[in-house]
């Protein structure tokens, strides 16, 4: 029952419909790729680009003879963020981590942030990279600790620090007195995050370089501080 006479006409109608449809697609494509490009890139950047501040390492404090009295050390810990609260997920991820790091601790279902491994060395961080990509619950977080020579009087003299907005801030003693000089000026950089809020490789762009603080050399020796003399 094929209508042979009108077949070409009907085919032409269909081809014409396809051509119109294709042109509409092309117009939309051109609109997003060229005309409205800037607007949509801006909207996208809102969800993906983060401006981060990074702090230079807090400088050291030396005694009169150049002996280091206080310094900073950076450590890396592996955290388990309990996003799903699923015991099955905890079990699977823990088993995988434990196969490489036998000393890893098993996350509890109740805790939201659980430290599975502390003080990772660079080799361990590289070994964990694949797991972190596969399991968004895992995160390596840096931790900075301020160390002071282990004499009680020196500790009191040098003073204490606390972390305020991811930066060490002196709250007593020499640490407080020379706080600004020790900290320096923070830097800024832009990064791109993926949908799981992980940092996309090679997406970082520096805006301002951080200026490290200055090391402080005290006018007292370690022995004098231990005796309780004041500067």
């Amino acid at each position: 029952m094929l209508d042979k006479k009108n077949f070409k006409k009907q085919t032409d109608i269909i081809i014409l419909c396809f051509a119109v449809w294709a042109l509409l697609c092309l117009a939309m494509f051109f609109y997003y790729a060229v005309i409205a490009k800037a607007e949509y890139i801006k909207l996208g950047n809102k969800i993906a680009i983060r401006e981060l501040i990074y702090y230079p390492e807090r400088s050291k404090i030396f005694d009169k003879n150049g002996i280091t009295l206080a310094w900073s050390e950076k450590y890396y810990d592996l955290y388990y963020n309990n996003l799903t609260g699923s015991p099955k997920r905890i079990k699977i991820i823990y088993r995988r981590i434990k196969s490489i790091f036998p000393n890893a601790k098993k996350p509890t279902q109740e805790s939201l942030d659980f430290v599975m491994l502390r003080n990772l060395v660079p080799k361990q961080v590289s070994a964990l990279e694949k797991f972190i990509y596969l399991h968004q619950e895992l995160q390596i977080t840096p931790r900075i600790e301020r160390k002071v020579v282990d004499y009680p009087k020196v500790r009191i003299y040098i003073g204490k620090v606390k972390i305020v907005k991811r930066q060490l801030v002196g709250i007593s003693g020499v640490e407080k007195l020379y706080d600004q000089a020790l900290n320096g000026t923070p830097g800024k950089y832009k990064i791109m995050l993926d949908r799981n809020k992980n940092w996309i490789k090679n997406s970082g762009k520096l805006i301002n370089l951080a200026v490290p603080g200055k090391d402080i050399k005290l006018q007292l020796t370690l022995a004098e501080i231990r005796k309780g003399q004041k500067q």
Partner: protein, 370 residues
């Protein structure tokens, strides 16, 4: 046109089409690689796709060597097997992305999507009905009933995107068959209760529509996918972010290597770099269309145009979704998207089209179905 001239033209077109198809598939592999450059195993998907491509090309060469009369005579048998597989997948299929549409083979991690392989057989059956039909009303009724029977298992998966492709192809076959417009006008009325049932059973479709109309109202849920298409294409601009730098496709675009492959290509190659792909698609369709009209057998003409229409419809829906012209549907871009079933079935379809071109009957013998 003399028979000899026609044969030479068919041969030249066959070689041209095969080369262009291979080129498009390789382009697809590059796009798939590009969508996973930041992943843990960037070569995983592209490696598998290359394997499918080798198999697909073999299937196409084999399919085009089988006389078209074989497909025509066995249309009902092939169609029945394909239909049974559509029913079987509902019972024993595996659910992926909320859709029970695949048979998986545990030991190989490979999966087959019957609704992809059923496409050429669906068209063969519709063409067979048209060819054997004696009056318009009965033919239209048979075509409608067949289309409805095929749509039900696909909608039950639920795979609204593929169902839309089947539906539009059915309409196109009706138009090509010369079914009067008064009958065609009844299709929307016939579809209304089905559409209501589909929307009632799958509320996610309504959400996709609302996300499509106003992506800003729910940018993290229903509007997410549409928004990501817009952001990805915008990042491509005129000339793209270059191969291997499709950051947005890698990080935000859902299913960047399959259902969103057009947007991935746009980000990598930009507007200027993507146009040749569209032109290549157009050239394949146009060359085959022009040659088809020179054939004498109306049956083969009908079959080839219907097959080409199915591929074009699927490609246009995929591109429309990717350029935010239509709400999100899970449809692949034929030849370019990742997926063994999609690639193999498309190349099989082209194999049958080339067979229909190569095995055209002598001028006087027009209808060999009956």
């Amino acid at each position: 046109m003399k028979q000899e001239q026609l044969n030479r033209k068919v041969f030249n077109t066959t070689v041209l089409v095969q080369s262009l198809l291979f080129l498009l598939c390789i382009w697809g592999c590059l796009a798939i690689y590009n969508s996973n450059t930041l992943g843990a195993s960037p070569l995983y998907f592209v490696g598998r796709q290359l394997l499918w491509l080798v198999m697909g090309m073999m299937i196409m060469f084999l399919a085009q060597r089988i006389p078209f009369s074989f497909y025509a005579e066995n249309a009902m048998t092939g169609g029945s097997i394909a239909y049974i597989s559509l029913l079987a997948v509902l019972l024993w299929g595996t659910e992926i992305n909320g859709m029970r549409g695949w048979f998986t083979f545990g030991w190989t991690s490979a999966s087959i999507q019957p609704s992809e392989f059923a496409k050429p057989f669906f068209i063969l059956m519709l063409c067979q009905i048209v060819v054997k039909g004696k009056n318009n009303f009965k033919t239209f009724l048979r075509l409608s009933l067949t289309a409805l029977l095929w749509l039900i298992p696909i909608l039950l998966q639920p795979d609204a995107g593929t169902a839309l492709v089947y539906l539009l192809t059915f309409v196109i076959v009706c138009v090509l068959a010369g079914i009067p417009w008064k009958y065609l006008a009844s299709i929307p009325a016939l579809l209304t209760p089905i559409a209501i049932w589909v929307l009632y059973a799958n509320p996610y479709i309504i959400k996709r529509f609302s996300g499509f109309w106003n992506p800003s109202s729910d940018p993290l849920q229903s509007g997410w996918h549409i928004r990501q298409f817009q952001f990805t294409i915008a990042r491509g601009g005129w000339f793209g972010a270059k191969m291997g730098n499709a950051t947005w496709s890698n990080s935000y675009l859902p299913l960047a290597h399959s259902d969103s492959v057009f947007a991935t290509i746009s980000e990598s190659l930009g507007f200027v770099g993507t146009l040749p792909i569209l032109i290549l698609f157009g050239v394949i369709i146009f060359v085959l269309y022009r040659l088809t009209l020179k054939l004498k057998s109306p049956n083969q003409k009908l079959f080839i145009i219907a097959m080409l229409s199915l591929i074009t419809v699927q490609a246009l829906i995929h591109i429309s979704v990717n350029v935010a012209l239509l709400p999100t549907t899970g449809l692949t871009l034929p030849l370019l998207s990742y997926g063994g079933s999609s690639l193999l079935s498309t190349l099989l379809t082209f194999g049958i089209i080339l067979s229909a071109l190569n095995f055209h009957p002598p001028e006087e013998e027009h209808n060999f179905y009956i």
